[in-house]
Symmetry: C3
Subunit: 166 residues, 3 copies
């Protein structure tokens, strides 16, 4: 290992998945970076866009179906068989439990978390290709979304940054 390795100074975090467990890691890494004084660009693309859509970002669920790791959120409890994931309502139940646990350890809901990152100086962007594909306009997004960016603009903004695709 190099002596005096260079500290992380800037991150470009991409959020591409639309489930609760797909969105939170990127938000937590963005928030943690700002708390360390690291520059942050948060870029939402594909189904990750749901996190910044005014109409949807407060009702996002965990991906239980197709997630064989999904057991009761308390890993010490009895694991539920995978098949439970396909019962209607199961995703809502697991989501409710997880949100309750997140609340206890002070992880705020998605809209509040985005406002916090924005307040702390993080920059929030939406991906142009996805915006066009889903026929969205600036009005569909939460006010913290700064701009709609092309992939080229994303790379330019990422000069000197670690790119983290979540």
């Amino acid at each position: 290992m190099a002596e005096n390795p260079e500290k992380i100074k800037k991150v470009s975090i991409i959020v591409s998945r639309g489930s609760l467990d797909g969105i939170y890691p990127g938000l937590i890494m963005a928030n943690g970076a700002r708390m360390e004084g690291i520059d942050v660009n948060l870029f939402f693309t594909f189904f990750g866009l749901y996190a910044i859509l005014k109409k949807y970002n407060n009702s996002i669920k965990i991906a239980t179906v197709g997630n064989p790791a999904m057991r009761v959120p308390d890993a010490k409890g009895l694991p539920l068989p995978t098949i439970v994931g396909i019962l209607p309502g199961m995703s809502a139940f697991a989501t409710w439990m997880m949100k309750k646990e997140m609340d206890k350890i002070d992880i705020p809901p998605i809209p509040e978390m985005l406002a916090m990152i924005d307040d702390a100086g993080g920059n929030i962007y939406a991906c142009k290709a996805t915006v066009d594909m889903f026929h969205l306009t600036k009005d569909d997004f939460i006010p913290q979304v700064k701009r709609v960016l092309t992939v080229g603009e994303f790379y330019e903004l990422s000069a000197g940054a670690q790119i983290i695709f979540t």
Copy 2:
């Protein structure tokens, strides 16, 4: 932030998922990078390998089941309940709609997109461990696949690059 932060000059993009929404982000980032003059290595591993398999890469679908964010591709429409995802045919329907929208904004199908990236000078590789595990040979892949690489070779090729795992 450092003044004059260093521009992104090279990216090593790994595609590891096998669904349409798992494959496209890597391809779009690879294509966007080449358009900016950024060097590109595209590395396909695990189920991401389906993207470069001649027999399969034109029939890849969206992951509707287990994707609670999946609603009608036009996010302004009425969201479909999660349970719809498990109905047979739903994935095919959502895939058809998404492909139609992608076509409108000039995002080509996977095989054409890979040919485009190759033409633009991007390098396409397959992961040796996955190739061995699935008993594949060079003949199973599209002609644009340059070589089958070990993880060690991947790291060597990534000297000076940002590694982006999608």
Copy 3:
């Protein structure tokens, strides 16, 4: 491209998914990095935590449901229709087949692979927020887990490293 691009010297690999196909890529990249003399920090978060839980990490399955790329592990065989993924037992069957194939090419089960990475000098960490959310303690983890880290500590440890989120 710069002449003499800088070799990858250190990687910080994050494992965030809890399925077999979500966990292995990070482990294979960590192991491959150590074999090349690259420094490795492996950080487990969200459902990725299952990989280091003593009680669960030997019974992790493939995500068949919701994974439209999932066909018979041998890609040359007949593809199974997506709907098969929701049949109980299918995930177990696909997992069994994949494990058999991995064994043939000398990819060890998750617990052995983690011991190997630890023996080779890789550092294994758990994410504090997830540990708190799931009410876990150090005792729930395999002995190779060095410490529970905050996101801030993760960034500090990642100085000079490529961050790879899998």
